[in-house]
């Protein structure tokens, strides 16, 4: 705001009016949605994680750190031995992070060229491509994951095809391997990589590439030094959108993997399903997962602010 007008209309923040008087009331639907659907469930899980487990599922309202203790320490069968580090769950977490990171990487490797290809088509074929990308999403993820299993199992069409063409003599065991889980995650979340990158490349001004080319950069350098840095927000958004759900995924590891490919998502799911579960333990695992996701997002947010500060 320019100085001469300031005395008449001395508002520092042009949005300040939104947060007082009637503005606050008009915002109430947003607050209710955020409160009921976001804050309340997370808060409940946080409380649950500090409560005592009920054997047929549910919780007893007695505060304890047992769930976190169980996650981190092994105190023997009867809980009377000196605590040692419990590796089971840490291993599951490490494996989940590794699998999610790998899925993110593969989605990026395949998703970036795909998004670039779509974004550089004519307006009409672009919408056809986007439609094709989203079509599988009209089918339930469970169904898609099961059909993936049918495709890759020992007697499935993939192995039958490879055997009939003589590439292999006996079926390759794909189901119940890390590779199968990887394939499932990749298949489930690829569009989440493609769409944000597509949006970024579509907005990209190709005159920038021409300018770089004009200034003696070859195509590879132009990609590396101009296109990728400029569309980076789209790439990061895609990576987060793939990494976060992959980390908590349970359908792909459950259906395509086996005991050796157990991931956090399945671990949590097991604690809440049926009567055999351990709600506080599931809640604690969720909280640990949530903390990890938040750390990743905070890292991203800090990068964004730094990039914006650089632009200011």
């Amino acid at each position: 705001m320019s100085a001469p007008i300031a005395p008449l209309n001395a508002k520092k923040n042009p949005n300040a009016g939104v947060f007082d008087g009637i503005g606050l009331w008009l915002l109430s639907p947003s607050w209710i949605v955020i409160g009921v659907f976001l804050l309340l469930p997370v808060f409940m899980m946080l409380i649950f994680s500090f409560l005592t487990k009920e054997f047929r599922g549910g919780v007893i309202w007695e505060p304890t750190l047992a769930a976190y203790d169980q996650f981190l320490f092994d105190r023997g069968l009867f809980g009377d031995e000196p605590p040692t580090i419990e590796w089971t769950y840490i291993t599951i977490f490490a494996r989940s992070i590794w699998q999610a990171a790998l899925a993110t990487l593969f989605c990026l490797i395949i998703g970036f060229p795909t998004a670039y290809y779509i974004a550089t088509r004519s307006a009409r074929s672009r919408s056809v491509w986007l439609f094709l990308i989203t079509i599988p999403y009209w089918v339930n993820l469970l169904i898609r994951t099961v059909s993936m299993k049918f495709l890759i199992r020992d007697t499935g069409p993939l192995n039958q095809f490879l055997m009939s063409t003589g590439v292999i003599d006996s079926p390759i065991h794909i189901v119940n391997t890390n590779f199968a889980v990887q394939l499932g995650l990749f298949y489930s979340y690829l569009p989440f990589m493609v769409l944000p990158i597509y949006a970024a490349v579509e907005r990209y001004n190709f005159a920038l590439s021409e300018a770089a080319w004009d200034l003696y950069a070859d195509r590879w350098t132009t990609l590396r030094k101009i296109l990728i840095p400029v569309v980076k927000p789209g790439i990061i958004a895609g990576c987060i959108l793939v990494f976060v759900p992959s980390l908590g995924a349970f359908l792909a590891p459950d259906l395509l993997g086996g005991a050796k490919t157990f991931m956090i998502g399945s671990l949590i799911e097991e604690q809440f399903k049926g009567n055999a579960g351990n709600w506080p333990f599931g809640a604690a695992a969720s909280m640990i997962l949530l903390s990890m996701v938040l750390i990743v997002l905070m890292f991203y947010a800090r990068q964004q602010t730094r990039a914006q500060a650089g632009a200011r």
């Binding site: 001004n205 300018a211 080319w213 200034l215 003696y216 950069a217």
Partner: protein, 368 residues
């Protein structure tokens, strides 16, 4: 143009066809231009005339369908853009948004293999030249349009190209800034001694800056010449109409006197017209008369005794000038421009009869 030094740029018989045969579009049809070293050469024409296509072809962004492009005697039409010692100032500047101003300007130098120190040194000098030295650490988005334009210019000039291409670089600026940049661009060009090829649709811009202008229309070259030549001796109706304002009157050649033709205008008034030659008696043609070369006088007061008369229809006040619309006795309407310094035009009332005098040599007969 001296014969001893090679031409900066020779485009010969350039043809550009987009698309495959049934739907092929000819964007350029047999265009040839020669540009001398250190020349400020402008490609002028309305949008879609092929001027940008020609520029992009010289830059290497478009392939040439037929013909050749030579830069200081060397054929470059098969070189990719990043191998041509030619740089471009883009219409919307196309500055790299994630780099600082300095990094933008140093980019081309780094790509040419210069060390960071050397590249930054040259880039800093370039930014000082365009008076943006203090902005070197800013991002392009933090600069005004005019400043971004200077960065784009500095970036394109930093690698010392043999030829600088400018694609309507001033069109995004406001009027005042545009006028200031015209002068500055011309000064920079003269200082650095780099050949400039400038694309614009703005004839005033072309006239103020260019050593020579190539007027283009429909993918074809209409005329090449200095600003004065294309303004005062337009070769055809398109050029006469596109450059400045003009009155175009359809006529017939009555007789020929040397290089001049005598034609009839108005109600059988003979008018001597300069022509490019190649005409014979009886030809129909078009006469172009610039509105500022016509004067209005009170009927009968003119000593030279012009028989061309008409009725004053309307005045349009334009600040420095007043434009009068006059209907000739045969119904044709012509525009007359009178400087407001001498107030002869305002002597007339709307509806008054006026005698029309056309300056010696101001009428030009155009074939087609």
């Amino acid at each position: 143009m001296t014969d001893s030094s090679p031409l900066a740029l020779e485009v010969s018989h350039a043809v550009k066809i987009y698309g495959a045969l049934p739907n092929a579009v000819k964007a350029l049809n047999d265009v040839s231009i020669d540009v001398a070293n250190n020349e400020f050469f402008t490609l002028l024409g309305p949008s879609g005339c092929g001027k940008t296509t020609l520029l992009r072809m010289i830059a290497g962004f478009e392939t040439i369908t037929e013909g050749s492009i030579r830069l200081f005697g060397e054929n470059i039409e098969n070189l990719p853009a990043n191998k041509r010692p030619v740089n471009t100032v883009f219409q919307q500047y196309a500055l790299f948004p994630h780099m600082t101003v300095l990094q933008n300007v140093a980019f081309g130098l780094t790509m040419l293999g210069k060390s960071d120190r050397e590249a930054n040194g040259i880039a800093t000098r370039m930014l000082d030249m365009v008076q943006l030295g203090e902005f070197s650490n800013r991002k392009p988005t933090q600069l005004s349009g005019g400043q971004q334009q200077r960065v784009a210019l500095a970036r394109a000039l930093a690698p010392s190209p043999k030829l600088l291409l400018l694609d309507e670089p001033l069109s995004a600026l406001d009027l005042k800034l545009r006028h200031a940049m015209r002068v500055e661009l011309k000064q920079i060009q003269e200082e650095l001694g780099i050949t400039f090829i400038f694309v614009t649709h703005d004839q005033e811009e072309a006239l103020t800056m260019s050593d020579r202008i190539a007027v283009m229309s429909n993918g074809e070259l209409q005329q090449i010449g200095t600003g004065r030549e294309i303004y005062e001796e337009p070769k055809n109706k398109f050029v006469a109409d596109f450059i400045g304002e003009t009155n175009l009157l359809t006529t017939q050649v009555e007789s020929i006197q040397g290089a001049n033709a005598v034609c009839v205008v108005g109600n059988h008034t003979p008018l001597e017209c300069a022509s490019a030659g190649g005409i014979s008696i009886g030809d129909t043609g078009i006469i172009s008369i610039r509105p500022e070369r016509i004067t209005l006088t009170k009927p009968g007061s003119d000593a030279t005794g012009s028989n061309l008369t008409g009725t004053v229809k309307r005045f349009i006040y334009l600040g420095t000038d007043t434009q009068c619309m006059v209907e000739l006795d045969d119904g044709t309407e012509i525009h007359v421009r009178v400087q407001n310094a001498h107030d002869s035009a305002t002597d007339f009332d709307v509806g008054e009869r006026a005698s029309i005098k056309i300056d010696q040599g101001a009428a030009r007969l155009l074939v087609n």
